[in-house]
């Protein structure tokens, strides 16, 4: 095989350290000549770049991962879509307009470098080129790019810092304003809430108190009303009862007293009166006895009634008793005594008369001659005396 040891050396031997240096940058080399492609691939590959080659401009536009390309090295005089036209399309595209381009310009086709219309292209290199020169140029472009990147980053950082400070201030001011507003609103809300709460609380307390008082009042009133009503009812009941009881008791007492005393008294009186009726003495004695006996009897009657009342009627009733008793006694007296007395007097009179009159009749018969008229007058007197006694009793009772 033709060649030398030098040519046999494999270019990959020193790739690793160079690759680290270049950071695996990707370069797309476009040239119509496969020899130039190979030359660029070898030179740039040795320098540690990742190189892809193609023969036409369309390959740039259709490259599957154009975003990963760090630099485009392209011949200006490509067949079909030229290098310059490709560059123009790249610069018009949003995604690729910042891609650095190294345009390879044929020396013969460039009469004057100053007049070279590079357009949007960043850099150019005359063909034929020294492979080392290509590498230097590429490194220079990347350095420039890195520098630009650094400057840009620095500017961005500065801008960021300024913007951050500004923003912080603005934010702080805004926050303060907002805070103040919020606090004010909070205070308002709290005041409103407290007011509302206090009002509610007071209302509820008052309501509670009022209801308590009302209840108490009602209770008191009810109690009072109840009391008064009970009292009235009790009084009425007591009165009713008293009236009932008294009526019975008084009636019974009067009847009993009358039953006990009157027969004897009347019997006595009648006897005396009859004794006096006939004689004058009987008349006076009866008068006196009647006078003597009547108050005593009344006193006794009152004492009995009082004792009964004391025993049976409570104090309240007792207080009311005298008028009632009075009334009752009066009524009893009015109704029962006269009748009784008259009955008893009649009975006594009959008995006394029977007893006394028979002998007297005998004597009288004898004295008839002298005094039939006297006897009639005496009887008339006795009746009048009885009536008088009754009137007295009535008066006494009052």
């Amino acid at each position: 095989m033709i060649g030398s040891q030098h040519l046999n050396e494999r270019p990959r031997q020193d790739e690793a350290p160079r690759e680290r240096q270049s950071g695996f940058r990707s370069i797309l080399v476009i040239d119509g000549s496969h020899a130039v492609q190979d030359l660029a691939r070898n030179a740039l590959g040795e320098a540690g770049y990742r190189v892809t080659t193609a023969s036409n401009g369309a390959a740039v536009l259709t490259y599957p991962s154009l975003d990963d390309i760090d630099l485009l090295v392209i011949d200006s005089e490509l067949a079909g879509l030229t290098g310059r036209e490709t560059c123009r399309l790249l610069k018009q595209n949003d995604g690729t307009h910042e891609m650095p381009v190294l345009l390879l310009v044929p020396e013969g086709a460039v009469p004057n470098r100053e007049n070279l219309e590079l357009g949007p292209v960043n850099h150019f290199l005359l063909k034929p080129f020294d492979p080392r020169q290509l590498v230097r140029k590429v490194e220079q472009i990347f350095q420039q790019k890195a520098l630009d990147q650094l400057t840009l980053e620095h500017m961005q950082r500065s801008a960021d810092r300024i913007m951050t400070q500004l923003a912080e201030k603005q934010i702080q001011a805004a926050v303060e304003r907002k805070t103040q507003l919020i606090i004010e609103r909070c205070i308002q809300n709290i005041t409103l809430s407290v007011d509302q709460y206090a009002r509610n609380e007071v209302d509820s307390r008052i309501t509670a108190l009022v209801s308590d008082k009302e209840q108490e009042l009602v209770k008191l009133t009810v109690r009072e009303v109840a009391n008064s009503m009970v009292e009235k009812l009790a009084v009425a009941k007591v009165e009713e009862a008293l009236q009932g009881v008294l009526a019975q008791q008084t009636e019974a007492a009067v009847r009993r007293v009358t039953d006990q005393t009157l027969p004897g008294v009347i019997r006595e009186r009648v006897r005396e009166m009859l004794g006096n009726l006939l004689p004058r003495e009987i008349e006076t004695r009866l008068e006196r006895a009647a006078e003597k006996m009547a108050p005593e009897l009344s006193q006794q009657l009152i004492g009995t009634v009082e004792a009964v009342v004391n025993k049976t009627v409570p104090r309240s009733a007792r207080e009311m008793l005298p008028p009632v008793v009075e009334g009752q006694v009066r009524a009893a007296m009015e109704t029962s005594i006269p009748k009784r007395v008259s009955d008893l007097v009649a009975v006594e009179l009959r008995t006394q008369m029977t007893q006394r009159i028979d002998p007297a009749i005998d004597a009288a018969t004898r004295r008839i001659s002298r005094g039939v008229l006297m006897i009639n007058a005496a009887v008339g007197f006795l009746v009048l005396c009885g009536l008088g006694a009754m009137a007295w009793l009535t008066f006494f009772a009052k």
Partner: protein, 458 residues
């Protein structure tokens, strides 16, 4: 189909017209057979090695894509390494396949070889599936010749893939029948195409420079014929590329669009294409470039091409080789026997176009006025200060291509002059071999090299 028991081996044979290849292979896969399936048509013969119902390799005398070429075109190995390994393989006859040797040397990884082999075999299979006539014969139990264990394909999956491809394939093959068709990028691209290209399609597009024919693109892309044609079809449909007129139309009356490859048996089937074919205007990118400083002598340098000196000192070995070929051509063309036959055609231009297809990195050498012009190459050498590592590939390809041109020229001369051709060559080559003065020899030995080169040519 006939089945016969022949001694130990069972044989299976028949006509592909009656039993399509896919059916035959399905049977072999189902039966987990081991052996060799030989396929023959009127033009081709292919052997498929099958082991346990799996395809482990193919062999064909006129293989379209050779493994070494595939690896070189894919940029996985360089031509020099390949040549050395091939030489070693021939000399030592170890019986090891090329792939294994390359792996042993650490030039490629096993995965890379496997991938290339798979591509190669699949390509051949797609080609075989399209056969409509021919015969097959399966030798059961025969030991596969190239059982290197690098490849093992599931036949059923291969058949499925093949069926999917075939309909598409026929349609595409219909549109892209001419292997010499040249494609160029459309100049009216107004912006970024909307559709994203698959990596393989982009790779294909990246190779299109208005000079390479379809056939060359298949070689260069290293994707296989099917993928290449599919990719070209996609690019045509996307209006990114267009077929252009064959650039050698103006080169000679006897040259047709199909090329006359048959007259150049040494050269692998390679179409004639490229802008270099047109001296002057069609010289391509470097045609308009003159040597540094020369442009000052009134008008652009490319309008007055000045070739390297006919005798030393030469600037580079490539320059010397160009001078030798130029002198040889000039010397031959004055011979009446040659002059009458060739007429006005330019044999060097034609040869260079053909060789340029095989050695794309030699494209810095151009043809001007029917002679080889190494100045663009030498200009780069001058700029780089010698044949540096960066230029080694161009240098090697250029010398290989020049050797091819010299060989082609000699064959042409022998065809017309007989033994006198050798005599003329020796006369012309003597001063170059005896006293090769090269200014930029770098560190290679001019004398040895010149002798080697001359021997190679002779």
């Amino acid at each position: 189909m006939a089945t016969a028991t022949n001694h130990k081996a069972m044989e299976l044979e028949g006509s592909l017209g009656a039993f399509p290849l896919a059916d035959v292979m399905r049977i072999l896969a189902m039966g987990r057979m081991t052996g060799i399936l030989r396929l023959e048509s009127s033009e081709h013969a292919v052997e498929l090695s099958i082991k346990d119902g799996r395809l482990i390799g193919t062999a064909s005398p006129e293989r379209f894509l050779k493994l070494g070429q595939l690896l070189v075109y894919n940029g996985l190995i360089n031509r020099r390494d390949l040549d050395e390994v091939l030489l070693e393989q021939r000399e030592h006859d170890t019986g090891l396949p090329l792939g294994e040797l390359l792996i042993d040397r650490g030039l490629v990884t096993r995965e890379q070889v496997e991938h290339a082999l798979r591509l190669q075999v699949k390509e051949e299979m797609w080609e075989l599936f399209s056969w409509t006539d021919g015969s097959f014969r399966f030798e059961h139990g025969a030991t596969p010749a190239m059982a290197h264990g690098l490849l093992s394909l599931d036949i059923n999956r291969l058949l499925e893939e093949g069926e999917q491809h075939m309909s598409h394939w026929r349609e595409i093959a219909q549109n892209l029948q001419n292997p010499h068709q040249v494609f160029a990028v459309r100049p009216d691209l107004a912006g970024f195409p909307e559709e994203r290209l698959r990596p393989n399609v982009w790779k294909l597009l990246s190779l299109i420079n208005g000079r390479h024919s379809l056939q060359t693109l298949v070689y260069m892309a290293g994707l296989g014929r099917f993928e290449t044609l599919c990719g070209l079809d996609t690019l045509l449909r996307l209006n990114l590329i267009m077929p252009v007129e064959h650039p050698v139309g103006s080169m000679g009356s006897q040259r047709s669009d199909t090329g006359d490859v048959e007259t150049q048996p040494d050269v692998e089937e390679a179409p004639v294409t490229g802008a270099q074919g047109r001296p002057g205007a069609l010289l391509g990118l470097f045609g308009r470039r003159g040597g540094r400083g020369e442009g000052a002598e009134g008008g652009p340098a490319w309008q007055k091409p000045r070739l390297t000196p006919t005798h030393g000192p030469f600037f580079t070995s490539v320059g010397m080789a160009c001078a030798l070929i130029n002198q040889l051509a000039q010397r031959l063309l004055v011979e009446p026997a040659v002059k009458d036959r060739i007429g006005k055609s330019e044999p060097i231009a034609q040869l260079w176009l053909q060789l340029g297809m095989r050695f794309p990195r030699a494209d810095l050498i151009q043809v001007c006025d029917g002679l080889l012009d190494p100045r663009p190459f030498e200009h780069y050498v001058q700029m780089a200060g010698g044949i540096t590592r960066s230029l080694a590939g161009c240098h090697d390809d250029s010398l290989e291509a020049l050797a091819g041109v010299a060989g082609g020229l000699m064959e042409l001369a022998e065809e017309h002059l007989g033994e006198r051709a050798g005599e003329i060559l020796r006369q012309v080559a003597r001063p170059f071999i005896e006293n090769p003065e090269i200014q930029h020899p770098n560190d290679f030995m001019p004398r040895t090299w010149a002798r080697q080169w001359a021997e190679k040519v002779l």
